[in-house]
């Protein structure tokens, strides 16, 4: 539902009640939360029934089952959520340039005002590169954190 609120408006409305920085952080946090929650729920939901039964059979308490079985097995989906959220936020930060917060998208608005295409290409390319870079870093972290998934891929 939050996605139906244009980020542009969210930044603008929040910035009238807070400092611009706080407004941007509130807005970006809400969007991130939305994506993360959805993926964490999907991840925990997708834990195979057999693993849960095995955990119950081993006599694990609910907490133990969550920490030792459900969260590790849900980790790939959760981390995918983190990646999606990060890349999305990089795009959204661009919009926060309308409330004078700077950022790479400033080049785009500046370039537009001056009809200076090079500046716009620079802004676009830099934003995309930043998103791809962060995506790759997070993929690396995912690789480090889920050694069991690695074996499956290698096979």
């Amino acid at each position: 539902m939050l996605y139906t609120i244009p980020s542009l408006a969210l930044f603008a409305v929040l910035s009238t009640y807070n400092s611009n920085e706080t407004a941007a952080i509130i807005a970006l946090t809400s969007y991130t939360l939305l994506i993360l929650t959805r993926n964490i729920v999907a991840g925990i939901d997708g834990v195979p029934e057999a693993a849960l039964d095995a955990a119950d059979g081993l006599g694990m308490s609910r907490i133990q089952r969550l920490v030792k079985v459900e969260i590790p097995l849900a980790m790939p989906v959760i981390l995918t959520g983190v990646r999606i959220a990060t890349v999305t936020v990089v795009g959204l930060v661009g919009i926060s340039a309308v409330i004078q917060l700077g950022g790479l998208a400033t080049y785009i608005f500046d370039g537009f005002k001056r009809s200076y295409t090079t500046l716009m290409v620079l802004g676009t390319a830099a934003t995309i590169l930043l998103a791809i870079g962060l995506d790759l870093v997070l993929r690396g972290i995912e690789w480090l954190m889920t050694p069991w998934a690695r074996r499956r891929v290698a096979r």
């Binding site: 244009p6 408006a9 409305v13 785009i108 934003t127």
Partner: protein, 262 residues
């Protein structure tokens, strides 16, 4: 004196509803229905173009299993492209070539926004259509195209529609960005509001865009109810939490038991 008071009152709205009630008097932005219409027009145009490209292409490729890797990459690529910058860049290109501020810059940017999720979801849905049903259709002598059209696509409708719903909602909400680069539409209230430091105008813009996006969401909910084939409609309360509380069935026979416990 009282006339002045009344005038002051009417020119200083104290909330966004008041602002909306007599918006025509205090903005150069144009009337609300007109701008809503423009927004909807851009969004519908973009969504239809994206759907017309993505859904048939993905369906055919998925039937022949031709784009396994592409279908997963395409989503990531789509996410990385920031819509703001695309609109801006296209606006300049469009102006240089004499096409004006709109509708093409925003429409193309929105098509790029909607294409990846539509493509990858259609691909996944068609690919994962029940292989038994596909084999049955093939055994009955259906041609490949018939299988795609009569078996795989109907089975894929729930997921395709769910993806379309999300994509369409997002397209409407994102159309507001057009106003940053000289376009019209409901986003104008937001950008003009920021420029004039008129909080009620910004709020009105936000509420109007969100309202339009939610109505589109509602339309898709309605369409989904009628278009999804009856057997594929989800049973209510299918959450795992519910099924898990049921006693675990120990017997699992390889052949389906036709009624009664074995």
């Amino acid at each position: 004196m009282s006339a002045v008071a009344v005038l002051a009152q009417s020119s200083d709205p104290t909330n966004l509803w008041q602002w909306m009630a007599d918006s025509s008097e205090r903005t150069v932005t144009g009337d609300i229905p007109g701008q809503a219409w423009v927004t909807l027009w851009h969004a519908v145009l973009a969504f239809v173009i994206a759907a017309a490209i993505a859904i048939p292409l993905a369906a055919v490729l998925a039937h022949f299993r031709k784009a396994e890797l592409v279908s997963s990459w395409v989503v990531n690529i789509g996410r990385v492209i920031p819509t703001v910058t695309v609109v801006g860049a296209l606006a300049i290109v469009s102006l240089r070539n004499g096409y004006g501020f709109e509708p093409w810059p925003i429409v193309i940017a929105l098509v790029l926004l909607a294409l990846p999720p539509l493509f990858s979801n259609t691909y996944t849905a068609v690919r994962d259509a029940s292989p038994e049903a596909v084999d049955a259709a093939r055994a009955m002598g259906r041609t490949e195209l018939q299988i795609l059209r009569r078996v795989e696509l109907p089975l894929a409708t729930p997921l395709i529609l769910a993806a379309s719903r999300v994509a369409a909602t997002q397209v409407v909400a994102t159309e507001a960005l057009a106003a940053l680069f000289g376009g019209s539409g409901l986003g104008r209230y937001i950008t003009f509001g920021i420029a004039n430091r008129d909080i009620y105008e910004v709020q009105a813009g936000a509420v109007l865009v969100a309202g339009l996006a939610m109505s589109v969401d509602l339309v898709f909910w309605f369409v989904t109810r009628f278009v999804v084939p009856k057997p594929l409609r989800p049973a209510p309360a299918h959450r795992r939490a519910m099924t898990r509380s049921k006693p675990v069935e120990i017997i699992s026979s390889p052949t389906p038991t036709l009624g009664g416990t074995p």
